[in-house]
């Protein structure tokens, strides 16, 4: 073989390997989704949503408490985390634009996005659970909110920075104070982007388990009281999957299916919104 042929051969092999790598990635994605779907679909029935858990071994239990608990924890986490994130992002993109402090906080938030969530759980255990004396839904919601803040903050900052400066100048020229410009002009111009940030941050925390293990803990009874331990889907999945009963496994798979579908819908929606409005994709 002459050099040209060797080079061509090398080229062919390398490109094939890269293509195979891409298909390996896709293979994992479809394998996992198919597996969750296949195993979860059988356990999906009305009892799962309508009944509370029954003692192991009995038939007909469900995870109503976990579904309601999970919704409550996520809802309150969103209620706490999103406003703080949006306001923080506003400060970085508007009042502190270009200053050193804005750069610093922006970089620190990027790091915080990837900090192990279980560490946040231990932190909340020390500052909320221990002083109060018991696990509570509030502790879980605060832990999730802490995970949401940097995600929302960074997307808001990015999206506000995309709003053209001339738009602000036009509003200033009409005599509007800065806060009015932000609320009535900038937030409106960046609404789709901020919404994406919220969607992606919810998708981020809905599947979190580790920070809930020692904050909201678990509760085998139905409870709508955020001051008590509150059951969540993810912690229930952990408990049920590690348990010995087949009915537990099937409920764990069914709940996993619900969570996976919910998160994938949010993630795809967020991506489509971003691609459609800005032609961008989110940074992971």
């Amino acid at each position: 073989m002459n050099t040209a042929q060797v080079r061509k051969l090398k080229n062919g092999i390398a490109l094939t390997v890269c293509t195979l790598a891409a298909f390996l990635g896709l293979f994992w994605l479809f394998f996992i989704i198919w597996d969750v779907f296949f195993n979860g679909i059988g356990g999906l029935n009305l009892a799962l949503f309508m009944n509370d858990p029954v003692p192991p071994g009995l038939e007909g239990g469900g995870l109503r408490n976990a579904f309601v608990g999970h919704l409550m924890i996520t809802f309150f986490a969103t209620l706490i985390g999103v406003p703080i994130g949006i306001l923080g992002g506003t400060f970085l993109a508007e009042y502190a634009r270009g200053r050193k402090i804005a750069r610093l906080i922006s970089v620190l938030s990027d790091i915080m996005v990837s900090v192990p969530s279980i560490v946040i759980g231990t932190f909340i255990y020390a500052v909320i659970v221990k002083p109060v004396g018991h696990f509570s839904g509030w502790a879980g919601a605060v832990a999730l909110a802490i995970i949401m803040i940097p995600v929302v903050l960074r997307t808001t900052e990015d999206m506000l920075s995309l709003v053209p400066w001339t738009l602000r100048e036009a509003a200033f020229a009409l005599g509007a104070p800065y806060y009015k410009v932000i609320i009535h002009v900038i937030y409106r111009a960046a609404a789709a982007g901020i919404l994406t940030g919220i969607l992606l941050s919810i998708a981020r925390v809905v599947g979190e388990t580790a920070p809930l293990l020692f904050t909201s803990f678990n509760n085998s009874f139905f409870s709508a009281n955020m001051n008590e331990p509150v059951s969540s889907l993810t912690v229930s999945i952990f408990q049920y999957a590690m348990g010995p009963y087949d009915s537990w496994h099937s409920q764990a798979w069914a709940s996993s299916l619900m969570i996976t579908v919910f998160i994938l819908v949010l993630a795809v929606l967020g991506r489509l919104l971003l691609a459609w409005r800005y032609g961008k994709r989110p940074t992971i």
């Binding site: 890269c18 306001l87 990837s114 560490v119 932190f123 293990l213 496994h249």
Partner: protein
């Protein structure tokens, strides 16, 4: 509205947004402070070096050391990086250079969706699907092919149960592929088209362009992506918790159960019955926080440098 009232509202809005953004800074300082103060009994009792180097994890006797969990964390992290990085870079090359343009977006997005799947799903899938596959097919095959070799054979000793370091690392590697792939893709995309075209004009093949132009041009960014994945792998909890067995031991074989910092925290935190036990767990959390913070900061530094260098 009068002028002074306008000013007041403006200053009010400025202050609450400033406080909101400072909350990130306060959180980091707060986490560090709380973890240090909660773990101070353990720090006083075991010291720093003795805690890190001691393999003794004995709740009954009240003596604790981090060496076994640090070992598990290090092995799973390094092994998962070794598996994930070649695949992730292959994916990035495929998406930027090989795929037809109508496939670039969808395939890239699909692989990034792997990052959206929650870790508990990975864990369950690992326990019920991957672990049996590993113990029935892959691990016996590895044992057969490498088990007899000197030294290397030690890695594959014991009965393949599927609940071990290797399975945990494989799951972790699948989880971190999208991070490395996505950041490498961004870095590859920053290579100026003109530079690539000049290489093609000299008669280079596509692989030669990738190897000699694109990768050297973007190696800082790729490195940043790898370090970011490393940081993610360090702190991953649920995916590993299902398939590692939480067994405090240091073993040569990849077919043994082990423990990582995160798995130990997840399994033992609510069971800690003495103050020194809980304090030692906080100590582990502190070590994990500092480690991952430093690693992630290094990753961020490289990623920022790539972005700046190209602008």
């Amino acid at each position: 509205m009068t002028r002074s009232k306008k000013n007041f509202v403006d200053i009010f809005f400025l202050s609450i947004s400033a406080i909101a953004s400072l909350s990130v800074l306060l959180l980091i300082i707060g986490i560090l402070y709380v973890l240090i103060s909660e773990s101070s009994p353990a720090i006083e009792k075991f010291g720093v070096w003795r805690f890190i180097s001691s393999t003794d994890w004995n709740p009954v006797k009240g003596s604790f050391g981090a060496a076994t969990t640090l070992f598990g964390t290090a092995i799973t992290t390094v092994l998962s990086i070794l598996i994930a990085v070649p695949v992730a870079i292959g994916i990035a090359i495929f998406v930027t250079e090989i795929a037809p343009s109508f496939l670039k977006g969808p395939i890239g997005a699909a692989i990034e969706l792997l990052a959206a799947i929650p870790s508990i799903i990975y864990g369950m899938w690992g326990l019920f699907t991957l672990a049996p596959i590993m113990s029935n097919y892959i691990e016996p095959a590895l044992q057969k092919s490498f088990g007899r070799l000197p030294f290397v054979g030690m890695l594959f000793e014991g009965t393949p149960m599927g609940i071990d370091l290797l399975t945990a690392s494989v799951i972790l590697s699948i989880m971190i592929i999208p991070f490395t792939a996505s950041i490498s893709r961004d870095a590859f995309n920053l290579t100026p088209t003109v530079t690539k075209e000049s290489a093609y004009a000299l008669g280079a093949t596509k692989w030669e362009v990738v190897k000699n132009v694109v990768i050297p041009y973007s190696k800082l960014g790729v490195f940043g992506g790898i370090v970011l994945s490393l940081g993610r792998a360090l702190g991953e909890t649920m995916a590993v918790a299902f398939v590692l067995g939480n067994n405090h031991q240091i073993t040569a074989s990849l077919f043994d159960a082990a423990a990582t910092i995160t798995v130990t925290l997840a399994n033992e935190f609510t069971e800690a019955d003495s103050d020194i036990y809980l304090s030692s767990l906080f100590y582990l959390a502190l070590i994990l926080f500092v480690m991952s913070f430093v690693v992630l900061a290094i990753a961020k530094f490289f990623i920022l440098k790539t972005e700046k260098g190209i602008k």
